[in-house]
Symmetry: C2
Subunit: 343 residues, 2 copies
């Protein structure tokens, strides 16, 4: 108690056994170059003395930290956490740890975080660009320095040296809107997010494409690009949108689960019946929509799997030999429509 023990190191074991540090190191590594009896002596002495290898020293010597840097735009969005879970689950199998940072939806913070990743703490980076990220020079810079990278979600501009994990947002929303149309809905509202975000642009495209294909008139009044980055304001923005509609929709396609829920909440408040008068579809499917009454029909995005795949691609890159040029992979995962009570 009180007095802090000095860490035991290889040298301590070596001295105690009157052998060299190198032999101790190799013994602990189960290297066949050391005699079995020596190895046993080392192993038991290491245990006895409570030896714990120093990860930092190992990393310095080996040039590998076994840490994956993960940069997400924000913590408080279940989608990103779910992706992180997927990354973690895959990474731990290969003895990697993950260091999560948030760029807080800001291009500046994204750059700042990447710089700290450049300092050799991480072996590679998995990143979801912010909506502010137009220029990807900072990403290329990191890649040029030999730090492998995998991008997921909201990839506005392709980065030549990085792998990508995505879904087909346009197709997914096309399918969702088509589903509403086939149910006979004709006045379908669209609730999107900030326009700069690639995923919202694509989901909007899919919405428009579906309406066009089925010759459904497009009402600008039924389209909302929700601008609030703050939870609190989204709420009001959406309620007010539905309060002041000139024509009334018989369906709503919302670009996130949260928008879907807020939509349902607004509609209920106004006294609309779901799904009888208005159908609602959300996007994401991370548990939220399932709890609500009525439960929310969703485009199910394989978030967890996206994380797993991103980790897999990154670890593959980490295992590639340095002199072979990396062959870029773009992975598009499948979405599906999960039907629930809201349609």
């Amino acid at each position: 108690m009180g007095l802090k023990k000095r860490r035991v190191k290889l040298e301590d074991i070596a001295r105690k056994l009157n052998i060299s540090i190198a032999t101790v190191s190799r013994a602990l590594d189960e290297n066949p170059r050391v005699k079995l009896s020596t190895r046993e002596k080392v192993l038991s002495m290491a245990k006895l003395m409570g030896y714990m290898p120093n990860q930092i020293a190992k990393s310095l010597s080996s040039g590998k930290t076994n840490i994956i840097g993960v940069l997400i735009p924000r913590y408080d969005e279940p989608f990103f956490i779910e992706v992180c879970r997927g990354i973690d689950q895959y990474a731990r199998r290969y003895n990697y740890k993950i260091l999560i940072s948030s760029s807080r939806n800001s291009y500046e913070f994204e750059k700042e975080n990447l710089i700290s990743f450049e300092k050799g703490l991480v072996d590679g980076v998995i990143l979801s660009p912010t909506h502010e990220t137009e220029n990807v020079a900072h990403l290329n810079e990191l890649i040029d320095k030999g730090i492998p990278m995998v991008l997921f979600d909201n990839i506005r501009e392709e980065v030549s040296g990085a792998d990508h994990v995505m879904i087909d947002d346009e197709k997914a929303s096309f399918t969702a809107v088509e589903f509403l149309i086939k149910k006979g809905r004709k006045k379908i509202a669209f609730i999107g997010g900030i326009k700069q975000k690639k995923v919202f642009q694509d989901r909007y495209k899919g919405y428009i494409a579906a309406l066009r294909q089925y010759n459904i008139p497009i009402y600008d009044e039924l389209i909302l690009h929700c601008n609030s980055l703050d939870r609190e304001f989204e709420d009001k923005e959406i309620l007010s949108f539905f309060r002041h509609l000139p024509i009334y929709p018989d369906a709503v396609f919302a670009c996130t689960d949260n928008y879907g829920l807020l939509t349902m909440k607004s509609l209920l408040k106004i006294g609309k019946k779901i799904p009888e008068e208005v159908s609602v579809i959300g996007f994401g499917d991370l548990g939220l929509g399932e709890v609500f009454v009525p439960s929310l029909t969703c485009v199910s995005q394989p978030s967890f799997e996206m994380g797993q795949k991103a980790a897999e691609l990154l670890i593959n890159q980490l295992n590639e030999s340095d002199d072979v040029d990396h062959k870029k992979t773009i992975l598009r995962l499948e979405t599906k429509l999960t039907q629930r009570e809201s349609t």
Copy 2:
């Protein structure tokens, strides 16, 4: 392109400028021992050559990694994520990064993760024990090795060498139940979680204490200790509980927001009116309850603040000099009751 650049190191700058490595190091540190003109030369050369310090080497040399290890029982619980956000927000101000791991509700994994924290990768640890954690020897071991620790949430047994950040679960639930009683409710159901979890034990105690104090009869039939660790089963367990009640409650005190929501969902399904026939209170308050219709009255737990405080305590410990014995801090944060539509 293609050819990977070798990292620039101090030596490269030193050689280029024909000065020693030590001087370069000190120049970059703005150490007054180096002449201004030299410092300027070094700074500009460093910039020119794209120098980026090697964090690992720094850590080895300084014995500090500036990383805080965070161990939570699971990722997919907003409470823990919110705490992590708080930790991150405080930690980044002091130039610490956080390395999050999940013990996946398992004592074994908790131990396993702590061992990896013992390898010198982190300067200190913030941890929320799993419900399986009865024995805290593994925690004490880490502390004895000189790794500072802060515990939060679900602290079953106090750990002498660690700081604690908690709320008063018993008092909070007492207050919540008292609130229901004062509203005239007399048959108040209790929905708790796995009994081994300290927080649930305490919330149960508070519930019982409130009933006793106001001489309200305690019906065992109205008490459920939800056993499912899995989201999917909780759902069914709670619905089935409410379906088969012999007496009907006029209020429900649920030990988490999620239980609160599932309770409301079940009640609505059965056709009960909330709050007219049954009032519901949840515990946590992380956004979920606000969206639901009707919105859920909650005990608001200051999750984000818990994280901030935990980080603060840990960083304080990290700054304490080694030979002064640490004075343990136990912090109890305030909860409050947030009234919404469900009561």
